[in-house]
Symmetry: C2
Subunit: 334 residues, 2 copies
């Protein structure tokens, strides 16, 4: 339908408007990113509901949480999904007798990956995702190499790319392209990127990734109500793995809502109804305890290309709702 | 920054990323579109607050409401902003001693435009906007001609374009291009259009409009969280008048939020703070009575390319929140 697609080396005829691109995978990060709002303390019934909904909806991957170091993060303070032990995961999924693959995220320098990530044959996990800042890339690549050697699919998610100098990003992508990683993720950590920037960055990521047979993913935040729109733009350009979360549950303004994303993807394997049911019964009721989703303070941090931390803090104070006060604070600090 | 812009005949050097395009106008439709949620019954203090905020924010146009026929709509049932009499407007704006221009909307076949729209020299209004379905175009053009002859700027807003056959749309645009209208609006009435469709339609509208010296506008709805994104795409392609509403106030899922739009536009004349203040003090407090904004039932009507009416009705019943029930109903009726 549009000439945009012709630009991309990653689009085949099946990627066009009315039909679908079979290669596109959806990764549900409801529990992992949502866990940032409640220190990863979810009831088992929530985990089971999200798992079952993902299986029924035809989602490709579900991220169970983090593989965080217990030396750095105390299990007294954080729930099970900060650590994702094999036992805890199996309590939810058994042997995961389904088409849904499971992933966990290992944050660079915050994980004891050598000991805590088991060889694939001992684990029900299928993929290890590594989140890294630009200055940690060599360490991230060691995690990827370790996970790859243990038998997992792997991703590298470069965080806060909207604050990275372009020549550093080029070097990083060149370096990552030489690794064993399967997917390189474009991550809009602050929800600050507009479609023109997504186009520019995604084309850059694709150039480096495709040269060495890798694919590109997209993880968006909704600070400016652009998470879904930017995910669509990424699809159009050729990204083949897309993060979504149910009702957008995630830190601050949250993520690209899975229910919107499944509506856009025309692959008959995806079913919307199980996701709507899970949202209605399990996700929406959490709003009485958790504050997430688009809100003007998150818009302001996104607009200013800043971490949502000050907005999250502000929304926990009695000043919540005093939009002008928050705006004045942020402009002053700028 | 991107090759998209090169395609458009309506982009000059001043339209690029870091700078701005001086021709771009913002039209605030908070009261007009929001009035669809409360039968146009707003307190005068709301009207004054929105007016003052628009003046202070450097917004170009404010739409005061409708010029609806009192023979068709009873003033017992509808508030002042369904009719926008000269006296009622002047109670809010005096002689409008500001740079802000004022508009009112005349719905085709629902307006006694010949008598109710005064000659411009007797009115504080600056622009008459005409909303029309595809089958009413000749009547819409009569309204435009009348308003033009009386001295107003004019627009034609073609509603529900996502349900119009392309050959009819081409004929309509060809016909409108020969009229005296100043702006032709692309209107995503159902919030069902994706960026690729916006690109396709906007380029078509621009082709017809620019040939006869007219400009194109964009009016988006947020059913799929794409109102702002689609407005940005319209800017990139060359639309020069953009509708926004404060906090997105508008029917159903609402409109493109003015606060997001002003954040994107880099023209120094636009100020965000007065809009945030108005939202905080006057718009957000209305949420206790009015339900608007993105919600899964609106997503479903958008996805199915249908009027939001069933979602609005459903959200007023005790079933509100039963997303699966609504989904099943809509699929069954489809």
């Amino acid at each position: 339908m549009t000439e945009l697609k012709k630009d991309s080396p990653n689009i085949n005829a099946a990627g066009r408007w009315i039909s679908y691109r079979e290669e596109i995978k959806v990764l549900d990060c409801t529990i992992r990113d949502g866990g940032l709002m409640n220190n990863h303390n979810f009831d088992d019934k929530i985990l089971k509901a999200v798992y079952n909904a993902n299986v029924d909806a035809g989602v490709d991957y579900m991220e169970m949480g983090y593989k965080a170091s217990k030396r750095i993060f105390s299990p007294d303070e954080y729930g099970a999904w900060k650590f994702c032990t094999e036992d805890d995961i199996r309590k939810i999924v058994g042997d995961n007798d389904s088409q849904l693959k499971l992933s966990a995220m290992a944050d660079t320098e915050r994980t004891d990956y050598k000991t805590d990530i088991l060889p694939k044959e001992q684990s029900v996990l299928d993929m290890i995702r590594t989140a890294t800042y630009i200055h940690q890339i060599p360490t991230a690549i060691e995690i990827v190499q370790d996970a790859h050697d243990k038998g997992y699919e792997t991703t590298i998610n470069i965080m806060a790319v909207s604050t990275v100098q372009e020549y550093e990003l080029d070097k990083a992508l060149e370096f990552i392209a030489q690794s064993n990683v399967d997917y390189i993720y474009l991550v809009d950590s602050f929800g600050s990127l507009y479609s023109e920037q997504i186009h520019y960055l995604m084309q850059k990521y694709l150039k480096y990734a495709l040269e060495t047979g890798k694919q590109v993913g997209m993880h968006a935040h909704n600070n400016q109500q652009l998470a879904y729109a930017n995910t669509i733009e990424s699809i159009i350009l050729g990204a083949n793995i897309l993060d979504g979360s149910m009702a957008g549950l995630g830190r601050g303004a949250g993520n690209c809502p899975t229910e919107l994303l499944l509506g856009f993807l025309h692959n008959p394997k995806f079913k919307l109804r199980p996701v709507l049911e899970c949202i209605q019964k399990y996700i929406e009721p959490m709003r009485k305890d958790l504050l997430w989703g688009y809100d003007v303070p998150y818009m302001i941090t996104g607009l200013l290309n800043q971490h949502p931390r000050p907005a999250i803090k502000f929304n926990q104070t009695p000043d919540r709702g005093d939009l002008v006060k928050f705006f004045d604070q942020m402009i002053e600090e700028d």
